[in-house]
């Protein structure tokens, strides 16, 4: 598949995955709800397309896009969201933690800002082991106000770590507008620590891919960390509970305006119509199968709740009521 088609396919897959997941939230199958990635797909897709299979990423509470773009199986991903025993985490993680570690995803972390430090440590380990891996850590504009991320910038820069900081600036941290939450600029925070930083259009998968390749080349060639702020817009709710609660922090007109540049349309318009239609059909079938798989999969047995606490299978309080 050409680059253009592959980028479109990945964006389309995430978009439709999220839409199907929202249906399952509405029908009560996914109880905890989700943070939809709709509108931001170009970022996960562009960065993951620049990575080799052995490279690593960390994801967030709004993580389905990253995990799918890195190559996770949509059926097992959806099964995880539905809390089924066939899910990526066997039902223990759910929407905010669904991750396939076997393909280089170091977890989806729902503590805002926390994953950057983990990514940096993992990249440092790879560097020390003489591997040329790079690590991409995704986070939102809200995360740049967390102390741990700023501390991490310092370490990554001092130690020339092959980590790429990707800030998905979707205009909001829940209801907080970026400009109300961030003094100075987002890129200025990285630059203050000597990390090269740039801002790119996060709506165009090709633009993101170009920026990603440059950052990956820098990291892989020993040039240390870099920072990419991707400007985007969250088309849907912060979290699906907003569908019921409808808080008024942005107007409908604003959402319409913010959603006019759509990564799916931007990339789709670059493909011949029949190729695009063919991809769309393939993805519908794939997701139909994913939904069926999730719904037909069993729920985990409650006795499994105590498994996997320690590597040797030790349970903290075996035999006590």
């Amino acid at each position: 598949m050409s680059d253009a088609a592959a980028l479109y396919r990945a964006v389309r897959l995430i978009r439709r995955f999220e839409e199907r997941a929202i249906e399952l939230v509405r029908s009560g199958v996914i109880v905890g709800g989700i943070h939809p990635y709709i509108g931001q797909e170009a970022i996960a897709v562009g960065f993951c397309a620049a990575l080799r299979p052995g490279d690593l990423i960390t994801s967030t509470h709004r993580g389905h896009g990253h995990v799918l773009a890195k190559g996770a199986d949509p059926s097992r991903m959806l099964a995880e969201l539905a809390g089924r025993s066939t899910g990526l985490n066997r039902g223990r993680g759910g929407s905010m933690h669904a991750a396939d570690f076997s393909i280089g995803i170091l977890g989806a972390n729902a503590i805002v800002g926390a994953a950057g430090a983990i990514a940096t440590g993992a990249a440092w380990a790879a560097q020390r082991a003489g591997q040329d891996k790079v690590v991409v850590t995704f986070f939102g504009d809200g995360a740049v106000s967390q102390g741990v991320l700023l501390e991490t910038f310092n370490l990554a820069s001092l130690w020339k770590i092959p980590v790429i900081f990707v800030c998905e600036n979707n205009g909001f941290a829940t209801t907080m507008r970026t400009e109300e939450a961030v003094a100075g600029s987002i890129t200025g925070r990285a630059e203050a620590f000597g990390i090269p930083a740039r801002t790119v259009d996060g709506m165009d998968p090709v633009t993101v891919l170009d920026a990603a390749r440059a950052a990956v080349d820098l990291a892989r060639s020993g040039g240390g960390p870099s920072f990419v702020e991707c400007l985007t817009y969250r088309f849907d709710a912060h979290h699906t509970w907003e569908h019921a609660a409808r808080p008024r922090y942005r107007t409908d007109e604003e959402v319409v305006a913010g959603s006019t540049r759509d990564p799916m349309e931007i990339q789709g318009s670059r493909l011949p119509a029949d190729l695009r239609a063919g991809i769309d059909d393939e993805i519908e079938i794939l997701l139909e199968e994913a939904v069926r798989f999730a719904l037909e999969s069993p729920e985990p047995d409650e006795h499994e709740a105590l498994d996997y606490l320690y590597a040797d299978g030790m349970r903290a309080r075996a035999g006590v009521a």
Binding site: V31, G32, G83, R84, G87, N89, G91, R92, G93, G94, M96, H97, N109, A110, I111, V112, G113, G142, A143, S145, Q146, G147, V148, A173, T174, T175, M176, E180, A181, V182, A245, P247, R248, Y249, E299, P300, D301, E302, H303, E304, A305, L306, L309, R315, A316, R317, A321
Partner: protein, 324 residues
């Protein structure tokens, strides 16, 4: 007047804000969003953005700023979305709020209220569901409150704000939609004693906060089996009100502690130890505990339920103690 726990907390905040211009509410999305759990909905409109302050995602900084504002003469209410995120502010709470009065030889105090949601039951998995109030109750210098009823949700804030020292209030996420009756004029509320949630004679079940509904339903079930359970609502997790606990245990001679925290090194261990220290010779059986299984809270419904203290487990444990 019938009201929900959520509305009760909101009314308490509203009343405090109207009564004292030094009071303000600060936290993530407390304004336009009305707080992560909708507690402060509508307050921004009434009090404006200076007093209902949205903050960036910086738990450590805004909690520290709350401490500073309290020292500076304000009466802040800091809201932290959930207890899991409060760990980012733990340093400020433990190393500063809790220590300043003592460390300064009483030169300064920290009249700060921190509210946060705690607990599981909503399928939000292991980074949003823990019950860590027991950890906080380990810390000298703090007062720890856990309102289980609508009356306490309504009543505890005013005395907490009047307290010259830091007070943490833990609101269990599963309680926000619970309903209860409130009188037209709100009686003054004490934040030092435990309460008897239900009187009984055969076994004392000691709990607090979010496990109260499970304990009440267990007590109902026990009643059908002819076992009369007395329920102690701790209300205040630090300092613990030993007298109420011991009075009940001396009457029933048996105790079960029910806690959504983990059992090892826990609040339930503390309560159990105190009963052993103070009422050992009144006991007819060992003190038992029903706690959350010692795992991070899992996501899937079955797994989450399996991890939590359920009424069946409470009933089974109480029956073992009573021998019926």
């Amino acid at each position: 007047m019938r009201t929900t726990y959520r509305e009760a907390v909101r009314e308490a905040i509203r009343e405090a804000m109207r009564a004292d211009s030094r009071v303000f509410l600060m936290g993530e999305d407390v304004g336009r969003y009305g707080g992560a759990f909708g507690v402060s909905l509508g307050l921004l409109e009434e009090f404006g953005p200076d007093r209902i302050r949205d903050t960036p995602l910086s738990e450590s900084a805004f909690t520290g700023a709350g401490i500073g504002a309290a020292i500076g003469g304000m009466r802040p209410i800091v809201e932290i979305m959930t207890v899991n995120f409060s760990l980012l502010a733990l340093d400020q709470i433990m190393n500063n709020a809790a220590t300043l009065r003592h460390m300064s030889n009483g030169q300064i105090g920290v009249p700060l209220v921190i509210r946060m949601t705690t607990g599981a039951g909503r399928q939000l998995a292991a980074q949003h569901s823990h019950s860590l109030e027991g950890w906080y109750s380990h810390i000298p210098g703090l007062r720890i409150l856990a309102p289980a009823t609508v009356a306490d949700a309504r009543g505890m804030l005013a005395p907490a704000l009047a307290d010259p020292d830091p007070v943490l209030i833990f609101e269990h996420g599963s309680l926000y939609n619970t309903e209860g009756e409130l009188p037209e004029s709100i009686p003054t509320c004490d934040i030092s004693s435990a309460a008897i949630g239900r009187t009984g004679t055969d076994v004392t079940v000691i709990t607090y906060g979010g496990t109260m509904p499970a304990v009440i339903s267990a007590a109902d079930e026990l009643a059908t089996l002819g076992i009369s359970a007395e329920v102690v609502d701790l209300r205040v997790l630090r300092p613990l009100n030993d007298a109420t606990i011991m009075q009940s245990v001396r009457k029933t001679h048996r105790a079960v502690v029910v806690d959504e925290g983990w059992r090892s090194g826990s609040l339930s261990a503390e309560v159990s130890a105190r009963i052993t220290e103070q009422a050992f010779f009144d006991l007819d059986a060992p003190v038992m505990r029903v706690c959350t299984e010692e795992v991070p809270i899992p996501y899937a419904k079955h797994l989450e339920e399996a991890a939590l203290p359920r009424p069946e487990r409470i009933v089974r444990t109480a029956r073992e103690l009573v021998g019926r």
